[in-house]
């Protein structure tokens, strides 16, 4: 039976199963919890279920079975107002970016801050910082559909980090990046994590986690294995 949630855990999966109709079992009866301020890497083969797990966390998909608690709340019992609150506090860098193609880099990054009615002056400062961190200052006023794929990816990451959210999910954040830019992203993530952000990063890129001692959740055939990386 599910044990009482650990008081400081920000994400709690209890016997969660996700089946896509008709018969794709993406996740099968998995349980784990993530504590506040942790940085967790999610690995697994293509099609293993990493994106599915992240979508469950930000309520883009509903679990077929099981219980998911985010910041102490059962996502099945959330009202639409709670869901909005949760989403405002969760930065997500989607695997397919989900940028607005006809809006500029600046407008795209500003969106999550406008949604929370942040002051224009603060928005400006925050964006200036993020553009600098992602090496995109030159591209500030360019429409995102005129960027290279790697530049778009960095815009997506900047947008996810915009609100300095307590929880940040990044799905394959370095898939289109060269080592130099990968390092920029890793640096940003490390800084955010040190400032208290809980991070979950789905990735195939061993280079970004092999030298850290963060928790690794590996998905295989719908089952998970949790490593604490110290060994490797």
């Amino acid at each position: 039976m599910p044990q009482a949630p650990v008081s400081d855990s920000i994400i709690e999966f209890i016997k969660v199963t996700k089946i896509y109709s008709p018969d794709v079992v993406a996740l099968n009866d998995i349980s784990f919890n993530i504590r506040q301020g942790e940085m967790v890497f999610l690995t697994g083969m293509s099609g293993a279920g990493k994106t599915t797990l992240l979508k469950l966390i930000c309520s883009l998909e509903r679990p077929s079975k099981g219980l998911i608690e985010i910041m102490g709340e059962d996502i099945n019992k959330m009202k639409s107002r709670d869901l909005q609150k949760l989403r405002q506090q969760t930065g997500v860098a989607y695997q397919d970016f989900k940028l607005l193609p006809k809006h500029t880099v600046y407008q795209n990054i500003a969106m999550p801050m406008e949604v929370t009615y942040m002051q224009p002056k603060q928005i400006k400062e925050r964006i200036a910082f993020l553009l600098e961190a992602m090496d995109l200052t030159r591209k500030k006023e360019i429409q995102t559909d005129r960027l290279s794929r790697g530049e778009q990816q960095r815009v997506a990451i900047a947008r996810a980090a915009a609100n300095a959210p307590p929880l940040l999910l990044a799905d394959e954040p370095t898939g289109n990046l060269d080592p130099t830019n990968t390092e920029l992203v890793v640096n940003l993530f490390t800084a955010l994590n040190q400032a208290g952000t809980t991070m979950i990063i789905a990735t195939h890129d061993r280079s970004i986690y092999k030298e850290t001692d963060h928790k690794i959740i590996d998905i295989d055939q719908g089952e998970i294995t949790i490593h604490n990386n110290q060994a490797s």
Binding site: S80, R81, L83, Q84, Q88, T90, L99, L100, P112, Y117
Partner: protein, 294 residues
């Protein structure tokens, strides 16, 4: 969320999708124009019907003069069948003086004939509306069956034809009305679908970023309201211009004698404005709801 923010956001929306916006605006204006145009035609047809009715009377020739004490009773009976404007009872003597008045200069012809060769009659002036006009044949049959009635006379050919003609016009207006409502609904639906398609991406992403309902509803609904107001004002302005043009074009006295064109009364104009604004707002609201549900 300050009013300033809402206005900025609405302005930005309008600017970013101006192609679709203009299309919606044209649609709304055109629908309002078409609807109010046919409504105007219909209203003026009713007026014209009334004015044409001015000149219509049915003359019931009687075998004998109606005694004054019976008049009341007969009048009641007639009124029961159909609403009438007035009923005039004419004796032989009245008929004769009418005729001599009509003949005017030639009246000497009549002196040889004596004053009672004309039959007594009842003149019935039907209510001046289209309904009475279209049912005039029925009414005349009824009158012909009154006790003592010999014959009913009226501008039979013309009135009957005009009645049937009016009926046909009513049918056209009806059919046009139905077609218009179909077209307007369909056009608005298709424009909204276009807006939805062009906005889908943006609304979807806003939702993922945790935007509150108010955040995306308010500017979009305001947009619908603006569309509705602008569209119906343009539509009604076009109609008024057309109306003014027709009035100038047909300014001859002989025409206006019969058709005193009038514009839609203020209350109707206002209702059209109100309904179209409501419809546009509803349209925006429905297209937003679609996304809130996802």
């Amino acid at each position: 969320m300050t009013p300033r923010y809402i206005l900025i956001q609405t302005g930005r929306n309008l600017k970013q999708t101006w192609g679709t916006q203009i299309m919606t605006l044209i649609t709304v204006s055109l629908s309002v124009f078409m609807f109010s145009f046919f409504f105007l035609v219909y209203t003026n047809m009713l007026n014209t019907g009334e004015r044409l009715g001015d000149h219509i009377r049915l003359i019931v020739y009687m075998e004998n003069e109606v005694p004054p004490e019976m008049e009341e009773q007969l009048a009641t009976k007639i009124r029961q069948f159909s609403a009438v404007e007035k009923i005039v009872f004419k004796s032989r003597q009245d008929a004769f003086s009418d005729l001599s008045e009509q003949l005017n200069d030639d009246r000497d012809v009549l002196f040889d004939l004596g004053s009672d060769f004309l039959p007594p009659s009842i003149e019935v002036y039907p209510k001046r509306d289209l309904k009475s006009l279209t049912h005039i044949k029925l009414f005349s049959d009824f009158l012909a069956n009154l006790p003592g009635a010999v014959k009913v006379q009226y501008g039979r050919d013309w009135i009957e034809r005009f009645g049937s003609f009016t009926q046909l016009i009513q049918l056209i207006v009806l059919c046009s009305g139905i077609l218009l409502i179909l077209t307007a609904t369909f056009m608005v639906a298709s424009t909204i679908r276009l807006t939805v398609v062009s906005r889908q991406n943006e609304l979807e992403i806003l939702r993922l970023l945790g935007a509150t309902k108010a955040y995306f509803q308010t500017p979009l609904i305001l947009e619908g309201v603006i569309q509705g107001i602008t569209g119906s004002i343009i539509g009604l302005t076009c109609l008024f211009s057309l109306y003014a043009w027709i009035k100038i074009k047909f300014a001859g006295p002989s025409f206006l004698e019969i058709f005193t064109l009038t514009f839609l009364p203020g209350s109707v104009t206002f209702s059209i404005l109100f309904v179209s604004v409501s419809l546009c707002t509803l349209g925006s609201y429905i297209s937003i709801r679609k996304f809130l549900k996802i």
